[in-house]
Symmetry: C2
Subunit: 379 residues, 2 copies
């Protein structure tokens, strides 16, 4: 293939060279003084990224592990919860909650749309004994941004109800203020805006959630956050730390904070904005009603098979986009905006999506679309 490989999926993402070099560094022990000093700094910096004064725990797992930790540590069998099902990851909350024998009330949102504050208020009024509302900040399967801030305010009115947010695809790409907005549990993962390989997940609990946790028997050994809390007090993780990845995280967080979090967030939002200008210039439309800046979800023209299109782009132009799942299989293309993405990558995503459509007989003026994208970058 003549084209360089480009990973433009919603996650995993392209990793900056300097972080990759740290992954390749000789191994040091997780109890060695040098690592302990780095971990301590990572713990401090994670709080800044989460906009919280509470500890952020680091787990060796994918983001789903931290989602399970959220449930296992704050909820008990028979507790009622409200889950928002606006896509595949909302479904996952409901599945996990059922496994933990919670009474699950699900708000079904048409895929591509976002839940409203009113829907949550209505559900809470109907079930005032609800112990937690569980949702996504960005529903990665549809690209829809959810109104976290507004809903946090609605949930806050119920003193016994926690607001648990899977922000895996939202931390660092959208404004998300854990303490200011009163989010009780925030979950994140390394392979998204943290620009690292899959393998670490992060979770932070508000004081309110910590109080609930102290009274909750965790039915899980590996994801027992009370044990993690004890380790944290000693500046450690409960189990062997993922040294290589945490050291790379240290470098990433240092750089993000040097430049300012808002600089990264703006950069991601700029990529999203310009990509969408390019998409429109290709004559295409986007799927979600309120799109997240983390990814652009493009409607595949009705006449085409999106699965074949996606594979063609990967095989011919060496770009990995993601497709849709379940009801969206073959119908959407998901273009990620997180990670170490250059202007060239954004231009390539429009150019090769356009060319690929032409290859399938769907005519696009991709040259003009590229020109528009380039002009936006100059603006």
């Amino acid at each position: 293939m003549n084209y360089p490989y480009r990973l433009l999926a919603p996650g995993p993402v392209q990793i900056p060279e300097y972080a990759r070099q740290i992954l390749a560094a000789p191994m040091i022990h997780h109890r060695a003084p040098q690592f302990i000093a780095e971990l301590e700094q990572v713990f401090i910096n994670l709080k800044k990224v989460f906009f919280t004064d509470e500890p952020v725990y680091i787990l060796s797992s994918t983001g789903s592990g931290a989602m399970e930790a959220a449930i296992a540590n704050t909820l008990s069998p028979g507790d009622r919860v409200i889950t928002v099902d606006a896509g595949k990851f909302g479904e996952r909350w409901a599945k996990m909650a059922s496994l933990y024998q919670l009474k699950v009330e699900t708000i079904h949102v048409t895929w591509g749309e976002s839940v409203t504050k009113e829907q949550i208020e209505h559900a809470l009024a109907q079930f005032p004994d609800t112990k937690a509302v569980l949702m996504q900040a960005t529903e990665t399967s549809t690209g829809a941004l959810q109104p976290v801030k507004e809903i946090a305010a609605a949930v806050k009115k119920y003193p016994d109800c926690l607001f648990i947010v899977d922000a895996i695809t939202s931390v660092l790409s959208t404004d998300l203020r854990m303490d200011d907005w009163s989010i009780d549990v925030v979950v994140a993962g390394s392979q998204k805006a943290f620009m690292l390989p899959t393998g670490l997940s992060f979770i932070s609990l508000s004081k309110k959630a910590q109080a609930v946790m102290s009274k909750t028997k965790c039915a899980n050994f590996y994801f027992d956050l009370k044990a993690e809390q004890k380790a944290y007090a000693l500046k450690q993780t409960k189990f062997s730390s993922s040294v290589a990845e945490i050291r790379a995280l240290h470098a990433i967080l240092t750089k993000i904070l040097e430049n300012g979090i808002s600089s990264l967030t703006s950069e991601i939002q700029k990529r999203a904005r310009i990509t969408r200008i390019g998409i429109e210039a290709l004559g295409l439309t986007t799927y979600p009603t309120t799109p997240s800046p983390s990814l652009t979800v493009v409607n595949v023209p009705d006449t085409l098979d999106g699965k074949k299109l996606r594979r063609h782009i990967e095989e011919t132009y060496n770009i990995t986009f993601m497709g849709g799942q379940d009801q969206l299989e073959g119908k959407i293309i998901r273009i990620g905006h997180l990670g170490d993405i250059s202007q060239e990558d954004v231009v390539a995503s429009i150019e090769f999506l356009g060319k690929a459509l032409n290859d399938f007989g769907y005519k696009t003026d991709w040259q003009s679309a590229v020109a528009k994208v380039l002009r936006e970058y100059e603006a």
Copy 2:
């Protein structure tokens, strides 16, 4: 510090340069064809390393996660299990089993000793309804090797009893034949003889264990091996694969199998043998009755504080050994033999341990000890 850093702990371990370079490679997606092909080969090669025809699942977690998966997928509340407590990791089996509401019968073995086949037979005769025997192959906290083969034969006589082995510190360093010996569950981890960073764990189930699993409701979402089994059939992992580490694993396994597994096992056993010659030449003794080749556990002379000694070696000579925990705190030094360890590293471990003892006023003839080690390498 003038000395190069040496990581000679029981794990994590030194990672070969070629594997570190792969960790630094640009990221590719876990659904990209190139990765799928690599993962498929890793699945094949893991079977060889486990000496099994059954699938070996890859989890994104430390080894403790795979231990929990073993329990969560094959046992149910009220089931009786026998755990062998011969150190910290044996204790962990018992703690996990209690959390899962199993009836736990614990065989307490004096630390440093190994459980005997007769003790297991006796316990099984006393509790013939036992659903599983859980133990370590190498108890990493004491360095004691456990007689897995003999005990497997004893457990096999009980058709309703599974034999579950934490072989995290034993796979690839000791002879361990899952199928031939009838071990029902084998657990391993990336940061040991696999010479990779912490972050992956491995688990394989015998046909007998798989049959039990199919009838067991797993109370765990992230470690649900029935879901992993479905993903495996599609040549995938259930959650986002840890791409970077799995690609490095691919390189490691390819190299190990090219040279032959027995070549690696012999090399590790040689390091252990020569280290122990050096330890004896320093006038020191080793702790376990039947030592595992994975690590050498050295008794710290009574007059010295092992914690201070270990820290001195780290700060002055830039070598990380591990100390002891609980009743062994300050009393032992653990020297690891897994990972990318050169002859120079083995020599350095004897030289600097000897020098450090001298620094503390405990006279050793470390020059002669080094000479002995060097002669052994020439032999």
